[in-house]
Symmetry: C2
């Protein structure tokens, strides 16, 4: 799957991923109205609205991008019905040939992490049969519990040829509270990065590992360090756009082969229709606004990479 992700990035010339993180307030009125007319102002109505919203954005952008990253929290807030919309979104994106990174940030003690790994990346045994619960291609994983919380994911990834991105340095303002604290002179995120590199040796693709890392675009200097600490790890980079990261901040997340990173934008793409720059599309054509925002993001990142690499 890491090789497929890389092939898709090379094919689209776009090291980007669209974050499908729908809040109901991001969904244009007409889409909400239609869903509520059918299902009422219910959880099922909300789930239908975000699913239709996602579908339109995917339809309008899927030829330009290699991957999507649905954030499961945004679906989980609507309970079971929301998670059904998550599953529908994952399945639909896969049917469109997109690589799906489930942004689930799971992680627990060994046997429990194994259950999460099975549910999101593997197949669960039921009597004589097996079933895939959510079946994303990649999942994000929280490292706070250490190796025995992460390795069950790697085991499932080996069986399924899938991958994970481990949280190393997150994009949020208070990520430094614990992640930046110095341990023997090195910040915690660097120790986690070293572990990611070690774990990654256990499950290599052709040129990169199936074990990647999450490093926020909002911390370009740390990205530069971590790029060296984990040379074979693909870096999933959130925080571009709405959170403040820009193309020029991103160059050091990439290797000299022009690969090694994939940059996520969520609000910047899916709520493009509310931004001044794309106002001309109007709420009716929110999918077209997203497409234009994807094109602008690709141009920004390509420009930055061509300038530097």
């Amino acid at each position: 799957m890491i090789d497929r992700l890389i092939a898709k990035i090379q094919e689209t010339k776009a090291p980007i991923v669209v974050g499908l993180d729908p809040m109901l307030s991001y969904v244009p009125e007409q889409v909400q109205r239609k869903a509520f007319a059918e299902y009422g102002e219910t959880l099922a109505g909300a789930a239908e609205a975000i699913w239709q919203f996602n579908k339109e954005i995917v339809d309008k952008t899927c030829d330009l991008i290699p991957a999507v990253k649905p954030q499961i929290a945004m679906y989980e807030q609507f309970g079971i019905e929301g998670l059904q919309a998550y599953k529908k979104t994952v399945d639909y994106c896969k049917s469109k040939g997109l690589v799906v990174i489930g942004d689930v940030k799971r992680g627990d003690i060994g046997s429990t992490s194994a259950a999460y790994a099975v549910g999101h990346l593997g197949r669960v045994q039921v009597g004589s049969r097996t079933y895939a619960g959510f079946d994303e291609d990649f999942a994000t994983v929280n490292p706070y519990l250490g190796s025995d919380g992460v390795k069950p994911f790697i085991e499932v990834c080996k069986q399924e040829k899938k991958g994970i991105f481990v949280l190393v340095k997150t994009s949020n303002p208070s990520s430094g509270e614990f992640q930046d604290r110095l341990i023997d002179g090195k910040p915690l995120y660097e120790l986690v990065g070293e572990k990611v590199a070690q774990w990654g040796e256990e499950h290599m693709g052709a040129s990169y590992s199936y074990v990647g890392a999450v490093v926020g675009a909002t911390y370009p200097e740390q990205g530069r360090t971590l790029r060296k600490v984990m040379p074979k790890a693909f870096i999933l980079v959130p925080g571009y756009g709405a959170q403040g990261g820009k193309g020029k901040d991103l160059v050091h997340f990439f290797n000299e082969d022009g690969l090694g990173a994939i940059v996520n934008s969520s609000r910047g793409i899916i709520v493009a229709w509310k931004q001044e720059a794309y106002a001309k599309y109007g709420a009716e054509n929110f999918g077209e606004a997203s497409r234009a925002a994807v094109e602008a993001m690709i141009a920004d990142i390509r420009g930055a990479l061509e300038g530097e690499l």
Copy 2:
């Protein structure tokens, strides 16, 4: 809710919580057979089997215990159908008067943590209405992202009078890999514990905070330290029983008022029917075996506390 948890602990004289973490292999044959007869060897069949298993254990133990802690991963591995069984379990336990601690270990950047908080502890807005997605009483939270990943949970807890338990020192063998690393001479878990104490000041019950901590029974010395670092935090203590913790290891997790901790056992209770000590009940009476295991656990912990406090 923390006051209600404390009242329930005092009423039952049992500072324990039963971990409802069903693997399909824990469920006796006859329960599986019946579920598969109705739904086939499907995800729905597996979900029915674990739900019936849970229901029987809850029916046979609910008068002895204050709380349950379903581990969502064990349900999530069965996809949507599994999560429906989780929701059913949460609702049923609440209808039996039990406090429900959702062991979800969520945590993300601010707006995303807010969505998790709403989904598990709060109510989500849909048009002019609001709905509770999963509606647990407490949730466990991962602190790796720092304050802005935790505070959205506290905000929802304030509105709903609910609580969280933040992972501080987890029970698993490799928890020390990052959590024990020294920062200015103090282990990371202690810094996290200090933060829990600070966060907890924002949302106090009558004698304890709504912001608790998770500290593994397998690390009694660390428990002793953390008890002092977070005097007002209730400590949720996993790792008793199957993971190796014993009653006498637990005394330092409690305060001198005999409160301040609640000890979880999962496999030790729900798979009692497979243990030699409870073999006489047979697979047919697995609920009775769980009840006997609960009684033994309560006696062990009461004995240890009476000896020490």
